[in-house]
């Protein structure tokens, strides 16, 4: 187990290396001008001399490779640099936001896994039955619904028509303190939307694999020994049917990150979404590189986690296979 983790960690180094360089290269090739982005509306009336001075001050006139190398070496020594769009150190900018993004994503993910597994098992019990058909078609419908559209829809329904939940933000806009019940009530809608957007994959996967497992020899054997249907379903079929789902957990991480970006934007959730989009369109190199490295690390960790879980759940798989 430790060897697998160590091997992956070593493998992650060149990946992060390449990805961050890619970010700098792509940003360099983009038509966006970091100086114009920094200056904002003031840039529209600034003189060329003023803009040139800004370019030199921001250090964006240096060649691509040296800028990337400067960023990388100082990042390795713990200094992530300063975000030009947010006008604060990158570490502070990320630190202020990431907690809220993790809270949103973790809640949604947990919800999607629990609800998805439950619905999947229910559907698998009677393949072709009305419950199965209902759940499956719901899953296919949700799979096609874009998260931002779902977001606007639930906002319209729960905030505007029913007026039971807040339409956005981390707390009521007038509040100045962040409290547990404020955050909870504001978390419900965005987390639900994000969970719903992830739900179909879990439902369909669980339904398929539990359904397959129900037809396997061990399950047939268990039934033949006269065990209760409930025990057969939960102890035998569910256990082996969950294995592919564990892999799915890891592979859903990238989609979870992009989904969270959209949901955060719709609900004015103060996570890293707005910062990421802003960093990309403003060619804010230090922030963009740090956020990309972070997202890459999250994906790599997600995959590692999936493999570890798989190994734990099914000892036959082993960790070095």
């Amino acid at each position: 187990m430790a060897r697998l983790a160590a091997r992956r960690a070593v493998f992650a180094v060149p990946v992060l290396f390449v990805v961050t360089f890619g970010v700098f290269a792509v940003a360099e090739a983009s038509p966006f001008d970091p100086v114009k982005a920094y200056a904002g509306t003031a840039g529209l009336t600034a003189s060329q001399e003023n803009l040139d001075q800004l370019r030199a001050n921001l250090g964006v006139d240096k060649p691509l490779v040296s800028r990337w190398w400067d960023w990388l070496t100082s990042a390795l020594s713990g200094d992530l640099g300063d975000s030009s769009t947010l006008r604060q150190p990158v570490a502070d900018a990320i630190g202020e936001r990431i907690g809220w993004s993790v809270l949103l994503a973790a809640t949604a993910f947990l919800l999607a896994i629990l609800l998805g597994s439950a619905l999947g098992v229910l559907a698998a019990r009677r393949p072709g039955g009305w419950l199965d058909r209902g759940i499956t078609s719901l899953a296919y419908t949700l799979e096609a619904a874009p998260p931002f559209w779902l977001g606007l829809l639930v906002m319209w329904l729960f905030a505007l028509k029913l007026d039971v939940l807040p339409a956005g933000g981390l707390t009521d806009t007038a509040r100045t303190t962040v409290t547990f019940d404020q955050v909870t009530s504001h978390l419900i809608l965005p987390a639900a939307v994000l969970a719903i957007s992830q739900l179909p994959w879990f439902v369909l996967y669980v339904r398929q694999s539990v359904g397959d497992a129900l037809g396997d020899d061990p399950v047939r054997g268990a039934r033949a020994r006269g065990l209760a249907e409930r025990t057969v379903l939960l102890k035998h079929a569910f256990r082996s049917g969950m294995l592919p789902v564990l892999t799915l957990v890891g592979s859903r991480v990238p989609e979870l990150i992009t989904g969270a970006l959209l949901v955060e934007t719709v609900f004015s959730w103060p996570g890293i979404a707005a910062a990421t989009v802003g960093a990309a369109t403003s060619v804010d190199f230090p922030l963009l590189a740090a956020l990309t490295a972070l997202a890459t690390a999250a994906v790599l960790l997600g995959n590692l986690l999936a493999d570890l879980l798989y190994g734990l759940a099914d000892p036959r798989v082993g960790f070095d296979g």
Partner: protein, 531 residues
């Protein structure tokens, strides 16, 4: 680790995350003061400042809530003393401005304000190492010196009549901002000033929360808590206004209209200097032709644009100066006259060619017109312009792009641009029309070149005499009729919907930028909410 314990771990992690989020304490807050009148206001705005540090450009046009400038504007945009005790004394040559400072003013941290803070603020902004993109606006300033604790003298490089307008710029405390890196220190997110409000919290992309400064030299504001929610999407802003989460918001005309029958809300239309204009670049052989420019100037139906695109919330524009400004030259309004426009083109030798498009010396009367992708208002203006031009026999090809795409083409292609600054006619017109600024960043986008206008611009900024200045601006506006380098289309009203419980509010004349200072909350510190 077994499967059962894995599930528990996830739940524990989520609970822990929620517990961290809950670490702050709760405070009941229903937005009502002791006497039952509302003492808090929440407004929705569309734009967020890049920084809250005046040293990096925040609040340069005045009205920054956390800070004060030496001077400030009243409702009619007239200059009034703020941190200065009275309006400045200007030397006869127009190159020295002396301000006596208000005594007994303190920053919100309790430290006294003095002349050295003024000197520090201006010198820091002028410093080449400071990343302030609005530095160009202080181009006239040579040096600042303190005379004791309560007087400041500004020395200019050249006589510059509107300089006093620039001194609405907020003053930063040297004892805080002077001790950190101007470009990235935490002063830009945790500012301290002398203004009517103190910053409680700025959560970027979400909201800016202010509380009243009890020790404000102008008297403590009645609105104790003031929050600006940053909501970029117009529909979401309208929704949150409807749910009662917001007390007021800026809205486009079609959404403001939906609140017309709401008895608890009132709509305010702020008059502006915010114009939409088509640049006609001198470098384009069609758009640069004076006959074409004059024909377009009288051949586009501005009234129809105001009625259909702006739904009446605006007025026709004939130059950067709106028709209801005292600086406007009466008699330079252009009547829509397509027949006369066609005659001008005929006489200049632009003859109808194939497909109804005019031609002259083998050149087709056609040029591209760019607008900023995603800006619906500009798109509508551009399409209306092209449709009017087509009726004259001029083919305007409307295209959209980002500024990165548009900027390199500005010398040759037309652009649907916007701008406008009410404080002084010099601010707009010098940058828009001066030939030496052609192609300098976004200044003089049309590469306009007219010697009479150049001279009038110089005269207008040098003279301290109001009548002389007005005469110079009259010359410019008349010259723009004879030789239009731009087709000015409309001046746009900005619409705000606000809860009636705050009483009758006012708006200032607003610039192109939707700054934080704009809207009925420009003087939130003076609001007198009813019970």
């Amino acid at each position: 680790m077994r499967a059962r314990s894995i599930r528990t771990t996830g739940a524990v992690a989520a609970t822990a995350a929620l517990a961290v989020a809950a670490s702050a304490c709760s405070s009941p807050d229903d937005g009502k003061g002791a006497d039952g009148a509302k003492d808090s206001a929440v407004v929705g705005i569309a734009y967020e400042p890049e920084t809250l540090s005046p040293l990096l450009g925040y609040g340069k046009d005045g009205n920054s809530k956390i800070f004060d400038g030496l001077l400030t504007h009243d409702a009619d945009m007239k200059l009034r003393p703020a941190l200065a005790a009275k309006l400045p004394k200007v030397s006869d040559d127009g190159k020295t401005y002396t301000f006596a400072l208000r005594k007994g003013v303190k920053f919100s941290d309790g430290k006294p304000f003095s002349a050295k803070d003024v000197v520090f603020t201006y010198e820091t902004i002028l410093d080449k190492k400071t990343n302030n993109a609005s530095k160009t606006e202080l181009d006239a300033l040579k040096s600042v010196e303190a005379k004791g604790d309560d007087a400041v003298v500004f020395h200019l490089k050249y006589p510059y009549a509107p300089f006093a307008e620039r001194t609405v710029l907020p003053i930063a405390p040297e004892h805080i901002a002077g001790k950190q890196d101007v470009n990235k220190g935490d002063f830009s997110t945790e500012p301290v000033g002398t203004g009517p409000y103190e910053l409680v919290k700025w959560s970027k992309g979400e909201k800016i929360v202010f509380k009243a400064n009890p020790g404000y030299w102008g008297g403590a504001p009645k609105i104790k808590n003031f929050t600006m929610a940053i909501i970029k999407d117009d529909d979401v802003r309208a929704t949150r206004l409807r749910t009662g989460d917001l007390d007021g918001a800026i809205l486009p005309p079609n959404l403001a209209e939906t609140f017309a029958s709401d008895g608890a809300k009132k709509t305010y239309a702020a008059k502006t200097f915010d114009y939409r204009v088509v640049t006609l670049p001198t470098g384009n052989e069609v758009a640069g032709d004076t006959a074409v420019r004059r024909a377009l100037d009288i051949g586009v139906d501005r009234k129809a644009m105001v009625d259909s695109i702006l739904e009446g919330a605006g007025k026709e524009a004939y130059g950067p100066v709106p028709t209801d400004s005292p600086w406007f030259t009466k008699g330079t309004e252009r009547k829509f006259d397509a027949a006369k426009a066609k005659k001008i083109l005929d006489e200049a030798g632009w003859k109808p060619g194939k497909g109804g498009i005019r031609e002259k010396d083998g050149v087709q009367a056609s040029f591209p017109l760019w607008y900023l992708t995603g800006d619906k208002l500009r798109q509508d203006h551009a399409l209306a312009y092209a449709s009017d031009a087509k009726k004259l026999g001029i083919k305007v090809e409307v295209q959209s792009g980002t500024w990165e795409v548009i900027e390199p083409r500005m010398a040759k292609d037309a652009v649907l641009a916007g701008g406008g600054s009410p404080a002084d006619p010099d601010f707009d017109q010098y940058a828009l029309l001066k030939s030496s600024l052609a192609g300098d960043g976004f200044n003089n986008m049309a590469h306009y070149d007219n010697a009479t206008v150049d001279k009038a611009l110089e005269d207008a900024r040098k003279s301290g005499d109001r009548a002389e200045r007005a005469a110079a601006y009259d010359t410019i506006q008349r010259e723009l009729v004879k030789d239009p380098g731009y087709t000015f289309l409309t001046h746009i009203d900005h619409l705000y919907v606000v809860d009636k419980s705050f009483g009758d509010l006012s708006t200032q004349v607003e610039p192109h930028d939707h700054g934080l200072a704009s809207g009925p909350w420009w003087n939130v510190e003076d609001w007198q909410p009813k019970k």
